[in-house]
């Protein structure tokens, strides 16, 4: 893509930000990672160039999310910096100043969905999704692949791109029966216009580096070869590590480093990982070295011994089966029944229930997608959120694709005007990504404004 031989690195540990003093997302999380990468002197290596993050703008967030009631109620400055860090990496990459980049930042974002009523899975806004939409708007990139390597299903990122046939989202994770958020089954394959562009790889408990590299070699890399994305993003969680306190997998720093070496992501963005002493210092060092093309073979956790983990034949068979199933879905991604569906109805519709574990919010959604041959269709989301306080928020969010066609744009605007007049929603959001214009209407205040 460009001639630079540098790996960009933003290290933003947010040493003055926490969800709460004892929460896993607290000041201490990247302290030992700081110690390790600073002591290693990684920032001095000629292959590495360190960047300072910036604050993302509200418009960058409005391009991706419907934040309820508004962006300033959902994000702290730390969130704006974490998202801004990803944007700095994106700009440096596009300017040709770096050949790849790693935003080693917190707070994380991959559980944040399109509609944001609060914090779920430690996330408020989705750093990768904001970056992907920014790259598409600012630089006109089209096809982007996001590989989510966090142990938890990247349900937020999946939700945001579920109807987007230009974004390939692949998540591997500990199966949803045993871990938050519970989703991420192989049957979640993308909406009717983006079938096969969402692929979920649920893994059995205790999956090892061998299991990881089996899915990488047999599924992820071959699919990427066929999808031919303009950019590859690693949504880089580190909690598949054998020592992570919140999950039950058996991967190592070596496994993670080799994964990045093979995947060759253009940009990696840190997600979860809460073994802050036993995993993060080593996994992050391994990923940085691998991305910079340096030897990572000496990055070994002190409490790891060769032969500690092995993958049973039963589990191997289970993973093989998942790979075969997904390969089949991928192969048939283009022979869906769009025409038959379109003949019957103009809109495709589904109901969703979303639980916000951190904030205890229960959300019911009705999602309607206009079945549009030209642009993939505009999306209309009616969402009702019940807060623990008993407070209820009703909102309507309308989202026009980047290549939104005339009809979809007109219909979305008409729906917006109708809703304003009918006055049934507390807030109405219009996300016109074709024009990069983001409107909000508040019933209570009777006013409309643009996010800038």
């Amino acid at each position: 893509m460009n001639k630079s031989d540098k790996t960009g690195l933003i290290f933003f540990p947010a040493f003055d930000w926490a969800i709460s003093p004892t929460h896993p997302e607290r000041e201490e999380r990247l302290l030992y990672t700081r110690d390790q990468i600073f002591e290693e002197g990684l920032m001095d290596l000629p292959q590495i160039r360190e960047y300072k993050p910036r604050l993302a703008e509200y418009k960058d967030i409005a391009r991706t999310h419907f934040c309820v009631p508004g962006i300033k109620e959902q994000v702290t400055e730390a969130h704006l910096i974490a998202a801004g860090a990803a944007l700095v990496m994106a700009d440096a990459l596009m300017a040709g100043d770096i050949r790849n980049g790693f935003a080693l930042v917190r707070p994380p974002g991959h559980h944040a969905m399109k509609v944001v009523h609060g914090n779920r899975g430690f996330c408020n806004i989705n750093n990768e999704a904001i970056m992907v939409d920014y790259l598409r708007k600012k630089y006109g990139l089209k096809k982007i692949a996001i590989i989510d390597s966090d142990v938890h299903h990247g349900d937020g990122t999946q939700d945001i791109f579920y109807h987007d046939r230009d974004v390939l989202f692949i998540s591997f994770h500990q199966g949803g029966r045993t871990l938050f958020p519970g989703t991420g089954a192989t049957s979640e394959t993308g909406g009717p216009t983006a079938y096969g562009r969402t692929l979920n790889i649920p893994l059995p408990l205790g999956t090892t580096d061998e299991g990881l590299h089996f899915i990488v070699d047999r599924l992820i890399l071959p699919i990427l070869d066929e999808f031919k994305p303009d950019l590859i993003i690693n949504s880089a969680g580190q909690d598949n590590h054998f020592s992570d306190p919140l999950a039950n997998m058996s991967m190592t720093a070596q496994g993670y480093a080799r994964f990045n070496e093979k995947l060759r992501p253009d940009i990696a963005v840190l997600e979860g990982g809460y073994a802050i002493e036993t995993a993060l210092p080593y996994v992050n060092t391994g990923i940085i070295l691998a991305m910079a093309g340096l030897d990572y073979s000496h990055v070994v956790e002190p409490d790891y011994a060769p032969g500690m983990f092995s993958l049973s034949a039963v589990k191997k068979a289970e993973i093989t089966e998942v790979v075969e199933k997904l390969w089949d879905i991928w192969k048939h991604r283009n022979d869906n029944n769009f025409e038959a569906l379109k003949a019957k109805q103009d809109f495709w519709q589904r109901q969703k229930f979303v639980f916000y574990d951190t904030d205890g919010i229960k959300e019911h959604q009705t999602e309607r997608l206009r079945l549009c041959r030209d642009c993939g269709g505009y999306l209309s989301i009616v969402s009702q959120a019940m807060h623990q306080t008993g407070n209820i928020n009703n909102i309507l969010g309308l989202s026009i694709p980047f290549q939104g066609c005339r009809v979809c744009r007109e219909e979305a605007y008409a729906e917006y005007e109708r809703a304003v007049k009918r006055s049934t929603f507390d807030f109405i959001y219009l996300q016109d990504r074709a024009e990069d214009l983001y409107k909000v209407h508040s019933r209570e205040k009777g006013t409309e404004w643009e996010e800038e």
């Binding site: 933003i10 003055d16 003093p21 004892t22 600073f38 002197g41 990684l42 300072k52 604050l55 000496h298």
Partner: protein, 563 residues
């Protein structure tokens, strides 16, 4: 009376001041073959006819160590490294015999792999057999736990007693292993020659009946007694830019934001003074090819000077980043900024008729007037300076930061003053200041700014303390010392700061500068709650305190113009 002497790359200058005005000054070319002689020559010149008993302090700034390292005139030092997990140790290339041995500690100072004595004995024998007399023992995270470095040194001392061993944690406790290796290696390499220099200086002072304490200037602008500097010779590198900045600072208004612009023959050096304090570089200095832990001023060098060659290609004036000899008005070949300034009567060096000659020549070639040519050259040079200043502030604003408040705070400081030092300053600084909308200061005595900077520099003491109450120990970054604190979560931030203060006084005492420590400021204080299994098991404190970075006195009225 206070004496400051700077033995620089080109000139040696000395200043005698009573703290209110300059009583004596001298300046001559440095004798490269004998720095001590240059130093003593300058000293004798300023004390001639003065009452020796009134001298209260002598401060030296010298390029001795810088030169030794640049010219590679130091004995070889072998490395004994205990890196543990991380970067492949083959990446540690310091151009010397390097032995990687077993042993490792982690980021919290816990031993994660033991040292192996046969390993070390073998390494020591091999080092000796290859004719090395010095070795640097450096372990990763040795500042968090120095026991392995000490053990390795002990084993080497027993088996190879004539090997002189320097340990990493004694040289720097800052994180960054490769820099600690380089700094330890250079320390081991220069310690003896530095000690010899210090002895000669002390003898010379004694023979002149000067009993006042003698200090040496460090790259960070602080001074330490000669005796205390013996174990950290590398910190005396790059004291020249520190001296010139401090000198300019003492000749400009107190407490403001200023840029010091030192215009030399081929380069212009910029340094920043923010709210009255010189800006330190965020990372250690680069000494030749080695990145080190040595703290120094943030200095930006631009290839522009009075002797820079000016070219006229296609009617475009360009100041080239090179010199082809002295200015035309001083017997050189081509036009230079100095010729333009001489022609416009803005400097008083060289032959004006020669300057006019070269301006006329260019004017004829380009179909312009000599006046216009001279003004364009000056304008161009000013623009280079202004751009460099803007760039320097921008770089400062873009320094990486790791805390929310540092990113959110909108910093856009632009200077109140430009303080011009050096031959061409008078001709260029007023215009550059006008372009930046700030005040130009061309101080009197600027030609001996370096010596003045040495004279007014003060001892500074910094302590970075890291406390881990889960394990119950603290480490002092500056001297690698380690001690105990009560375990658990009861230790408070106030206690931590109090401990840091005690450590600062201890460090000051060790450096023999305790009487200079009047006030102490907390630079930053951070507390991390350590949570294991949902309950707080301890705290990590990161505390940085220092003595205020001020100078002895301000001699300038801060008025613009010269006299």
């Amino acid at each position: 009376m206070f004496i400051g002497i700077d033995v620089g790359g080109t000139y040696t200058d000395a200043v005698l001041t009573d703290g209110e005005k300059i009583i004596g000054k001298t300046k001559f070319l440095t004798r490269h073959d004998n720095l001590l002689l240059s130093l003593l020559g300058a000293l004798d010149a300023v004390i001639a006819g003065q009452d020796i008993t009134q001298i209260r302090r002598v401060v030296l700034s010298t390029t001795l160590i810088t030169n030794i390292i640049a010219e590679k005139k130091y004995p070889p030092v072998a490395l004994v490294l205990a890196p543990g997990p991380g970067l492949n140790p083959a990446e540690y290339r310091f151009g010397t015999l390097t032995k990687v041995v077993a042993g490792a500690v982690d980021y919290r100072g816990r031993e994660i792999a033991p040292v192996n004595s046969t390993d070390i004995i073998e390494a020591g024998r091999d080092i000796k057999s290859k004719k090395y007399d010095r070795a640097a023992v450096v372990g990763k995270f040795s500042s968090r736990n120095n026991s392995q470095e000490i053990l390795i040194k002990d084993i080497l001392a027993q088996e190879t007693p004539d090997l002189t061993v320097e340990m990493g944690h004694r040289v720097s406790g800052q994180l960054n292993y490769p820099r600690r290796i380089a700094t330890t290696m250079l320390t081991a390499a220069t310690k003896e020659v530095f000690a010899e220099f210090v002895r000669s200086v002390q003898d010379s002072l004694r023979s002149r009946n000067i009993t006042a304490p003698a200090f040496i200037l460090k790259a960070d602008g602080g001074t330490i007694p000669l005796e205390s500097a013996l174990h950290m010779p590398v910190e005396t590198i790059f004291s020249g830019p520190a001296a010139s900045t401090l000198g300019a600072m003492s000749l400009s208004p107190k407490g403001q934001d200023s840029v010091v612009v030192d215009i030399g023959g081929t380069t212009t050096d910029l340094a920043l003074i923010l709210s009255g304090e010189p800006l330190l570089a965020s990372k250690g200095a680069k000494v030749e090819e080695y990145l080190t832990h040595v703290k120094s001023f943030a200095v930006k060098s631009v290839p522009l000077g009075g002797d820079s060659l000016v070219s006229f290609q296609g009617g475009q004036i360009e100041i080239l980043p090179e010199r082809s000899g002295p200015p035309y008005c001083m017997g050189g070949e081509g036009p230079t900024p100095t010729d333009a300034l001489r022609y416009l009567d803005k400097v008083d060096v060289g032959d004006k008729t020669k300057a006019a000659e070269v301006m006329n020549r260019v004017a004829e070639e380009t179909g312009s007037t000599p006046d216009q040519i001279a003004k364009s050259i000056v304008e161009k040079a000013c623009l280079i300076i202004v751009n460099a200043i803007e760039q320097m502030f921008k770089e400062w604003e873009e320094e990486p930061a790791y805390r929310v408040w540092q990113i959110v705070r909108k910093v856009k400081i632009r200077p109140d003053n430009i303080v011009g030092v050096g031959g061409a300053a008078n001709g260029l600084i007023p215009e550059a200041a006008r372009l930046l909308g700030c005040k130009a200061i061309i101080p009197e005595h600027a030609e001996v700014a370096n010596a003045l900077g040495a004279a007014v520099a003060q001892p500074t003491v910094t302590v970075n303390l890291r406390i881990d109450t889960e394990q119950g120990y603290y480490t002092v970054v500056e001297d690698g010392s380690i001690g105990e604190v009560p375990k658990g979560r009861s230790f408070t931030e106030e206690q931590a700061i109090e401990l840091a203060r005690d450590k600062l006084y201890e460090v000051a005492e060790k450096l023999q500068v305790k009487e200079y420590v009047k006030t102490v400021e907390v630079v930053h204080s951070e507390v991390f709650n350590m949570v294991r299994g949902w309950s707080t098991t301890g705290k990590i404190f990161d505390i940085s305190i220092q003595t205020p970075r001020d100078i002895l006195c301000y001699l300038g009225e801060g008025e613009s113009g010269d006299e």
